[in-house]
Symmetry: D5
Subunit: 151 residues, 10 copies
Amino acid sequence: MTDDIMTRDDVTVLVLAARKRKKLSWETIAAEIGMSPIWTHMMATGMGACPKDKAEILGRLLDLPQAAVEELQECPSKDWNRDIPTDPCIYRLYEIAGVFGPSFKAMVHEMFGDGIMSAIDFDMVVSKVEDPKGDRVKVEMTGKFLPYKKW
Amino acid sequence: MTDDIMTRDDVTVLVLAARKRKKLSWETIAAEIGMSPIWTHMMATGMGACPKDKAEILGRLLDLPQAAVEELQECPSKDWNRDIPTDPCIYRLYEIAGVFGPSFKAMVHEMFGDGIMSAIDFDMVVSKVEDPKGDRVKVEMTGKFLPYKKW
Amino acid sequence: MTDDIMTRDDVTVLVLAARKRKKLSWETIAAEIGMSPIWTHMMATGMGACPKDKAEILGRLLDLPQAAVEELQECPSKDWNRDIPTDPCIYRLYEIAGVFGPSFKAMVHEMFGDGIMSAIDFDMVVSKVEDPKGDRVKVEMTGKFLPYKKW
Amino acid sequence: MTDDIMTRDDVTVLVLAARKRKKLSWETIAAEIGMSPIWTHMMATGMGACPKDKAEILGRLLDLPQAAVEELQECPSKDWNRDIPTDPCIYRLYEIAGVFGPSFKAMVHEMFGDGIMSAIDFDMVVSKVEDPKGDRVKVEMTGKFLPYKKW
Amino acid sequence: MTDDIMTRDDVTVLVLAARKRKKLSWETIAAEIGMSPIWTHMMATGMGACPKDKAEILGRLLDLPQAAVEELQECPSKDWNRDIPTDPCIYRLYEIAGVFGPSFKAMVHEMFGDGIMSAIDFDMVVSKVEDPKGDRVKVEMTGKFLPYKKW
Amino acid sequence: MTDDIMTRDDVTVLVLAARKRKKLSWETIAAEIGMSPIWTHMMATGMGACPKDKAEILGRLLDLPQAAVEELQECPSKDWNRDIPTDPCIYRLYEIAGVFGPSFKAMVHEMFGDGIMSAIDFDMVVSKVEDPKGDRVKVEMTGKFLPYKKW
Amino acid sequence: MTDDIMTRDDVTVLVLAARKRKKLSWETIAAEIGMSPIWTHMMATGMGACPKDKAEILGRLLDLPQAAVEELQECPSKDWNRDIPTDPCIYRLYEIAGVFGPSFKAMVHEMFGDGIMSAIDFDMVVSKVEDPKGDRVKVEMTGKFLPYKKW
Amino acid sequence: MTDDIMTRDDVTVLVLAARKRKKLSWETIAAEIGMSPIWTHMMATGMGACPKDKAEILGRLLDLPQAAVEELQECPSKDWNRDIPTDPCIYRLYEIAGVFGPSFKAMVHEMFGDGIMSAIDFDMVVSKVEDPKGDRVKVEMTGKFLPYKKW
Amino acid sequence: MTDDIMTRDDVTVLVLAARKRKKLSWETIAAEIGMSPIWTHMMATGMGACPKDKAEILGRLLDLPQAAVEELQECPSKDWNRDIPTDPCIYRLYEIAGVFGPSFKAMVHEMFGDGIMSAIDFDMVVSKVEDPKGDRVKVEMTGKFLPYKKW
Amino acid sequence: MTDDIMTRDDVTVLVLAARKRKKLSWETIAAEIGMSPIWTHMMATGMGACPKDKAEILGRLLDLPQAAVEELQECPSKDWNRDIPTDPCIYRLYEIAGVFGPSFKAMVHEMFGDGIMSAIDFDMVVSKVEDPKGDRVKVEMTGKFLPYKKW
């Protein structure tokens, strides 16, 4: 990490450190740039490109150097670390894909025909549902249906 | 597959063949046993145990032999075939866990503290959202938040 | 493989045997159903769902039983056998993804921004280019550009 | 990275930083050295050897030190990072090899006999096709057909 | 590791070094913060979030800087290093899961029905059982039973 | 599976079918041969050798042919199917080994010195603990401590 | 394996059985069809397509049914079983690729520039070299040099 | 890399840098120490131990410090980086082991009986064969035949 | 398994069944053919070729058909099932290679120089050592030292 | 590596450097501390805990700092680098486990019943056997037999 050569990983380190130092929640950061918390976290930790105006607000909010503000606007390599996640919180999403994936697939085909739910033209919201038997995590996702082209 | 020895995989084969022969949708089968389509498909294809009364309705609806009706009530091995799914429709769920998983984790911790969303005390609904720019697949999931025990 | 229970793999075996017995090229089969050879082969060997009218032509052309004609119209599991292909002809496509993939990605982002080329809303044509220094295989693919949604 | 010992990875870092600092597109860089953008990016990021004259132009264009200009002319190790790519944009190429690979293979054999499309005597062009239903990424590749030797 | 940017791994290094320098056992450290040794070790080496008051005691006991005390209160990424453990002491736990896992599963289903023992709402105690034929390691674990939701 | 050639897998199939047909719990079967349920299930499903007298009781209880009674007394290959278990109930044991394994190891070394808990001279009991906040699965294991030999 | 449906694996089984029954060496079989032993074995066990005239000689020599003679002329899937070979005789070739591969690569680049030795336009001969200190296996391979295309 | 502690990897870095700086080919370096190029490259890049006299010549030729000259004489760990090589030039050797390995094995057994070609008592020469249809890479290897001991 | 087509796996099944039916120990079978028990078991279960005279004795001792006696004399594919063994008894050998392997390597190099212990010109004896603190398994192996060739 | 924070890997680097600088063989070092060479190497390179008195002798012999002497007495993580070893000298041990492992297992069960040879209560000696046909490496190992507990 130098003035001249700053990778996306360097930017992520700066973002996380600034957030902790300034005691900001992701909810607050997201509100500042007018986006949802999931998208904001994903982009700010290196999984998406940021529009110029929002990168500049983020830069001011988190005291980022100009090189970081520019790097945030690049299209990053969206690689992830482990083929099979080990962190228990993320593993549960993977287990859901394994246990419920074929049922999800059956319903998509029954409702839409041969194709998939896009993971690109896609959004996700996470919220808390209070419940006397124990609060619940709610996840809502929508993705554009893409039918297989026939040619 | 004999009268005496019937595995859960044998039952799945019988279920899928009967459904095709009788031209029933999963939506219809689910309504017949009073459950949701995702749960019904998951259970009927070997990823869950079926209560006795519902197994009997399913047996009558799909002309299953008694041994199959009983096997449906057993707790199955919920193994899945491929560590990294290759079917494009299921892979997208896996990619979502990879790309958006860390952001999901960050929001869970911000809202609830250290813990996970259960994949067991869990439900999922898939529906269609009509959209002039292209219909969307909507997935809603809720799972009980489980805080890490401290002792 | 019985009259009642026929999997997609059974259908593929029947299709390949009939094609050899009747000495038909994929080019001919594709012309009979009015589609391209790549799509025809992909669908007829279990990687895609076939519209009803084309499945019936295929059934007559290859003397398939009615159960096979119906199975061809289902949405199949598009699983493939080996994470890293070993057949040299297919491996070369994998090597291309490894060696040229990052350059492909750079050009997509430079031309379109953050997003991907769809592998679903996608077509591929393979042809022969005669060349005195040795004939060349030509592959042309187009896929819809999908920009990452921001929300 | 010292004056004396500079690896190909060091050169890639210098190239990417200079390109960002000088705000040059790959299209422009490629035009400067009279080559295609895909080849230029592939070579400049460590997947190919550069002819001496083009390395020198590149050095002047990007202010590279002489050691980098020389390293660019070496035959690099063309290793890639992940057996199964995780970046969604590159993964789609891998999925295409999985889903369409056997059909590609069938057509190559039908048109040419037993052999492969070379991934070495090979070229690739990526372009944009405007389309009212959504612009498309177009990929054109040609590779020399290599018949299996018989001896 | 700087004053400003301290990762959880940095904290673990500091904790282990301080413990060795001060010649404290885990039993003692656990007693100081009023928790069990297993939980204390797990949390202090980066697998759990620490309540504020206990983090402060730990900070004083081990002379940790304030940034480390704060980092201990964050929810960490609970990743582990090797899919298949190689250290013989940990491998034996993995072998137990392989050899006795299906029997454990059969008893859970026989006693409780379809569901799992939680690994989150979970505790573990390790103790020594003296035995003239050779002392034994005793492990006691309890985890909440979670029944699969039906919906 | 013939009269003459019966593998251990064949015996497991016979055991599981007989148990279901006769509606016996593992608790009952274990009591009949005077052993614990975990050991009984493990041995009867192919992970251990059975003493002659207990194999004969089992044979009478489950109507097993003589060849099966003899096969039960052989030392089996204790191979398991999946390096990383996917069944959620067994996976949790694997996750425990990942998340809590290093802490278990630390306590074993602190109490006993350099060595391991044997997974061979080992026993395990699973029981139910009633709890108003939700019943708990209790697992008790003891294994002989084996110190590393020095020579 | 039926009269109508014969896979390449079926043909391999027939070839190996006939060879053993007729006590023919590969050297003899190769001489009969006028090819080298390595190519003959490779093709006859499913790794290459056979010209029509040679397939017919092979059919007469080994009493193969007509369906087998035809199947031998198809372009097979050249898949192999194990990513990392375990048979010690084949593993040594893999070890040679690991230990000597980088040196082989260095010499190819020093002599020819950036490119590869083709494994398709390729031949291999194995022979015995008598030596008083122990006979030696000699392997001679030639493959066309393919330079990377630049465009 | 210090005066006192120099690993074999450090020596390899020094060797490669010196070779480039002094513009020496492997052919020349090999001639200087009176060995073949393949052996010289393999040893000088960390895959073999060097006799004292040759290490000293190499030290003078490449201006290596005394610690490097000594390290070259040690027996190195001959680990290689990737189980399945990705560099196309080395991958082709791996593909040859996969496609032609079983045929190589069949010929070894036919000529010598049960045993292997040693990869230790082994030599390899790479040369260029000029050919109007395209120059060819020639690889000649001999390895001592080792029969399986019977006892 | 037919009269005409018998694989080595078929022979192994016959051998194991005959041994159990005739209640012969490996020690006895080995003595009958005048070889060691380890070699006898290895060869008779498909990991080695058997000399003709010993194959015939084995055939008479175990009532094997003539086709099996001939198959025993072939050089088998010595593939094994699992890259990382899971059976605890075999896993311990693998763990020994992991934990003690580098020390074994250091001693081989210190005593012999750069090279290996052959696993082909190799023998192994297993015996029981009575010991009041618990009987011990003794394994003695010798393998020819093979020095790396220099050329 | 600082005065305060020294890992076991740091100690290994110091030990290996001191041994080379002082030109000591493992045989000599082992004799100095009154232990066998295999155990000494294993412990001194991070695979075992060292008794206090021997650690102090080692410290004086190799001029180790006090922090290293203390670290040698800790119970280390006995992780090894590669699931499937690639160094040819260590790989041969792995191949022995693969090829001869099932025969070793058969003899253990025939002599001792169901159980394993301990890899913890275990010793190993490597020596040289002179032989006119080529010297041999001799490996002698004994491990306590551990019978599976029945409960």
